[in-house]
């Protein structure tokens, strides 16, 4: 695999999400909050959401994490407004398909399709999974999430 196979992972679009993340910070009023932590690699983030009739109305996050985790969390916030748990689970399944390389693009993912290159980097997939796992945990009323096995 040449270098061209990797640099898209660190393309300007994602670096910009890392530099200036969307929906960064706290919500004035949050219905749920979950803390995502991959202790082995040192990625941490906190996602707060506000819901209306089971649908996400507002989203905010803060992270001390790598570009991959931060950019996914930033893009995710824009993507999930209006979604309920069932829609989130479909989103998570589609995201999993592109991470594992069984699908190149999924319409439901929008800008999250940018992470399809992670199919070539199994060791970094857990970084990409962490924000969505944390959001699903918050929706389910859980307070912690991790995407590290064991």
């Amino acid at each position: 695999m040449g270098q061209s196979g990797v640099l898209p992972l660190y393309r300007e679009q994602l670096l910009e999400h890392n530099r200036v993340p969307h929906r960064w910070g706290d919500l004035d009023v949050a219905d749920a909050c979950a803390h995502g932590r991959n202790a082995l690699c040192g990625d941490e983030l906190r996602i707060e959401i506000c819901c209306n009739s089971g649908r996400i109305r507002d989203y905010a996050f803060e992270a001390e994490a790598c570009v991959i985790t931060t950019a996914v969390a930033s893009i995710l916030g824009d993507r999930v407004i209006g979604m309920d748990m069932a829609a989130l689970e479909l989103l998570q399944k589609a995201f999993e398909r592109i991470l594992c390389g069984s699908s190149g693009q999924e319409p439901v993912l929008g800008e999250l399709n940018a992470f399809a290159e992670l199919a070539q980097f199994p060791a970094r997939r857990k970084c990409a999974r962490l924000p969505l796992a944390t959001l699903v945990a918050a929706m389910a009323g859980q307070h912690v999430a991790t995407t590290e096995e064991g």
């Binding site: 695999m1 040449g2 270098q3 990797v6 640099l7 992972l9 660190y10 670096l15 890392n18 202790a39 082995l40 690699c41 040192g42 990625d43 941490e44 001390e64 994490a65 790598c66 570009v67 991959i68 980097f121 970094r124 970084c127």
Partner: protein, 416 residues
Amino acid sequence: MNSPMHQPIAPAPDWSRVRTEFPLLKRTVYGRPLAYLDNANTSQKPDRVIDAVSQFFRERNANVSRAVHALSEEATNLYEGARSTLAEFIGVQSDQELVLTSGTTMATNLVAYSFLLPRLKPGDQVLVTTMEHHANIVPWQLACERTGAKVVAAPINQRGELILERFVEMLTPKVKFAAVTHVSNVLGTINPVTEIARECRRRSIPLLVDGSQAVPHMPVNVSAIGCDFYAFTGHKMCGPTGTGVLWARRKWLEAMPPFFGGGDMIREVHIESSTFADPPQRFEAGTPNIAGFVGLGEAVRYLSELGMDRIRAREQELLVYAQERLREIPGLRIIGEARHKAAVISFLVEGAHAHDLATLLDLEGVAVRSGHHCAHPLMQFYGVPATCRASLAFYNRCEDVDQLVAALHKACKLLV
């Protein structure tokens, strides 16, 4: 110290020729020459070791200590020969004090379950340091949890050095066992293990020294250190994975009950009960990693011929060069600046996460490790979630360091 293995060999090795003896170092990664700087994680293997393992399987493969046929005799001689070679290499008189294990982790667990567990009572303490690898913390915690004892850690200073006075103060009558790393896998700090052993002996507190990062990089004389247990692993010293050593004082080995049961560790078995072999066989149940130890024995002969003094000196040169060059990177902070340190450099770059750096360095052919390095308490001490770590070996070149520095400049331009 009288071992011929520890005497300097003249003339100095031609390090560029030595490098050519490691076939893997010739490969490329993403089209770039490989700069392998993850030696604290595992070392590469020279042709001699690879050939020894291969030759064993091709010409001598048999089980040890069981059959009477010629092949079994040869395999047994090779396996037991490796034990003797290892004993001489670390300055130990009797090779019967060496238990051959799968690595340091198995060695520390053997001590935890067989030696420590029966000796601990509620309120007792096991003293470690903040810079320990998880393999030198978690086994003691498991023993403590079962007995109501607890693990306590002696602090380090910001340079990453053990505060020896504090360690000594903490050696109270409550402490029933102490475990200290010889060289930190994250900071490179070389601990004053001889002084530590002296203080422990004064108080009759058994001491285990984790030599995983020491034995591959400097002359080690376990008898001169004066500890009670010394553990190390083979794969970090040019040997195969799945090999390791626990050295223990004979009196302790004799007092220790078996940990694993099975073949090879018994004297006589009845359905109701069994009697056990003497140490070290008592602790080596089942078929061991015979080919692995044949390879490790060859690795020790290889390192001895290069000379551990010379290896240490070579790696110190590389360390000085690497630290100097890394300081050119704006925002780079080296974690661990002990006065006595091995060629391990942990670092952070402001504004860049360790994993992103490691992925971007990998793209430039530079292999480093990122993460917590199996040392969470140390990461907590420095208040960082993860670091990048470049760890050097004698077969590295200044060009490998240059490749690292160029790749870091490029990565920082992207991330910072």
